[in-house]
Symmetry: C2
Subunit: 377 residues, 2 copies
């Protein structure tokens, strides 16, 4: 029986441990917070990323290590990889930790991206904005997630306040894209190179945080081949092992690479009930060198994220083919505390399901763009 160690003990680690347990896999979580929510379902070792004594004990108790959190320091990951198998491997992880390296890689692999430029000084920012034009988005190259570390520049008048907000660390300026929609592709690659993708997902964000996902994304036939090709190119270039998400904008019907998340991803949570083998189980299979599982969609799925605090569970629990996920975290503004996934055989059935749940929870605004996008096949 193998033990998988997970760096980071949030909801992703929690769902990995729940998905891997039926395979007979054991888990050991390491997190600096003693109350990290994955510790409710698997043994937790409390340690900082620099506590090498604790990490040494961690390495001795596991067969393979993986990540709940992509911003584990690269040198911690490299140190660990000298002692135990780590997937994705540290160089692959490092390539995705820096937005400039990531977008440069996208371009090298033939993946279109929004225009971008490195910004290391105020002068760089002036020059980059002149070149890219406004609106644009200034972002930290590292450690950003859920819209954190980003500043939208509407015009050159915003330069000073943007620089005050983010200046002092390596930055990237990106053209702001008036996209038609956002999609993501969850892919998984095994230790032997086996590669598989879930259906393309359409996503909606609110305040920079994922609000809802619809899978499969409607009217996406023309996007599937290029999205899959891009994901495969990235995975093979990085010799990536595990599940990952490629986030893409659709602009004028074409794909633009936004970012890659080197881990299971919020826009793949629907796969727990909406696919035969979830992204979580497939990630566990991949890092252990097991065959990958079936990634097809079982009907239509909609994932609704619960941010800050959970709404009432009752209307979701009472709805057929609706699934409740409470991560066991305490409420806090902007924190992902849970999600619900609704499944249905048809868009018509999904519309009715969404309408009942949204009305009962007062979540009509969250659900409206999804309902407007659902199409009958």
């Amino acid at each position: 029986m193998s033990t998988v160690g997970i760096l980071g003990g949030g909801q992703l680690a929690r769902m990995l441990a729940l998905a891997g347990a039926p395979l007979g896999v054991r888990f050991l979580i390491v997190d600096s917070a003693a109350d990290a929510c994955a510790g409710q379902v698997a043994p937790l070792l409390k340690a900082d990323w620099r506590d090498f004594d604790a990490l040494d004990a961690f390495a001795k108790r596991i067969d393979v290590a993986t990540f709940d959190f992509e911003n584990v320091p690269a040198d911690t990951a490299a140190w660990l990889a000298e002692r135990v198998c780590v997937f994705p491997e540290p160089p692959a992880l490092a390539a995705t930790q820096d937005r400039l390296i990531e977008k440069t890689l996208f371009r090298e692999l033939g993946i279109d991206t929004p225009a971008f430029a490195a910004v290391d000084s105020y002068q760089d920012l002036q020059r980059a904005l002149a070149e890219i034009g406004s609106p644009a988005v200034l972002k930290t190259r590292r450690l950003g997630y859920d819209g954190k570390g980003q500043f939208r520049i509407k015009s050159s008048a915003d330069i000073d306040v943007a620089w005050q907000a983010l200046g002092g660390v390596p930055l990237i300026l990106e053209a702001w894209i008036a996209f038609e929609r956002e999609v993501s592709l969850i892919a998984v690659r095994g230790r032997n190179g086996e590669f598989s993708t879930y259906p393309l997902v359409q996503n909606w964000h609110a305040d920079g945080i994922l609000s809802a996902s619809l899978a499969p994304a409607p009217h996406a036939q023309a996007l599937i081949e290029p999205a899959t090709r891009h994901a495969r190119a990235i995975a093979e270039h990085l010799d990536y092992v595990g599940a990952f998400a490629l986030e893409l904008f659709v602009k004028d019907g074409r794909l633009l690479g936004n970012e890659m998340a080197p881990r299971v991803h919020n826009s793949g949570h629907w796969t727990i009930e909406g696919a035969p083998c979830s992204q979580f189980e497939n990630h566990v299979r991949a890092v252990l060198g097991l065959p990958l599982g079936d990634t097809s969609a079982l009907g239509v799925s909609v994932m609704l994220n619960w941010i800050g605090e959970l709404p009432a569970a009752q209307p979701v629990l009472a709805e057929p083919r609706a699934h409740w996920h409470d991560y066991g975290k305490s409420p806090r503004a902007g924190r992902k505390v849970g999600h619900a996934t609704l499944c249905a055989d048809s868009a018509t059935e999904m519309r009715a399901r969404l309408a009942r749940v949204a009305r009962a929870l007062g979540r009509e605004a969250q659900v409206a763009p999804v309902v407007a996008t659902l199409v009958d096949r």
Copy 2:
């Protein structure tokens, strides 16, 4: 956030904890074995059923208690019920712990059963066998499971050896039924009386232990109404709360009550992937007073039990819509160590799936009766 205590830490407790975790429910397991397999996924308290100090500490840490194991001593359950909510309640549990009381109840509720008689002495056994005829099955009234505590009497010449094998504890003699098939109904009843059933399941046993289940049972239309009526009558009579299984024989096209299991049941394991809400999640919902979940079947499901030791996982992992369950137990003859569930949209697809898996695992004999029973709708 509620904590559910589970008496017994086997695979049923393990699957209850895995199913309840997404609801935000916490678990605490009590078992006399420190290595009970549910302890791999939830906190485990090592204690015997008579260790009332430990049980008192257990009661203080939980909101509601339930069972992985129906043979928890009745007085332990009653003692606990004075301190914390226990579901199913001890009187309901007690009624199912004794085969004589159980079968008498079936008769009172209008459920046909095989002929039976109490046997407390050798003379009782002679008298009962003369009355019931042979073949017959002598069983201990209490503590039997998986064919344990049973002796098949082929003719009156077997009386002495049967008495030597089982005599000395309260017994029941039952007519041996040359049934056409065995079916079971998994039902669940909420704290408010809400009642729901999964589709009828057809089961095959080997050496007294469940070998395979097929859901929904084919050609069962005429059986669904009486089976559901019987399950509801039992549940309402006992004011039962939680999931349970009613095991039935089909003889001359009619149902005969065999036994009731007052807990989630091996013949309901297919519901993890084959139904929107599994028996495990529904049991947790029921004991916590939450709305019951959707019990419909998603296509056809076949569960194959792994007894003694696990076969190779690879052929199951490589098959689409096939699911592997390793309970994390060490191998031992006659021990349930895992199962696989195969799902499909049609009997044709299932036949192909079963054939591939059976061939790869050398399990043709286990699968053959299921294949012979599958019918296209």
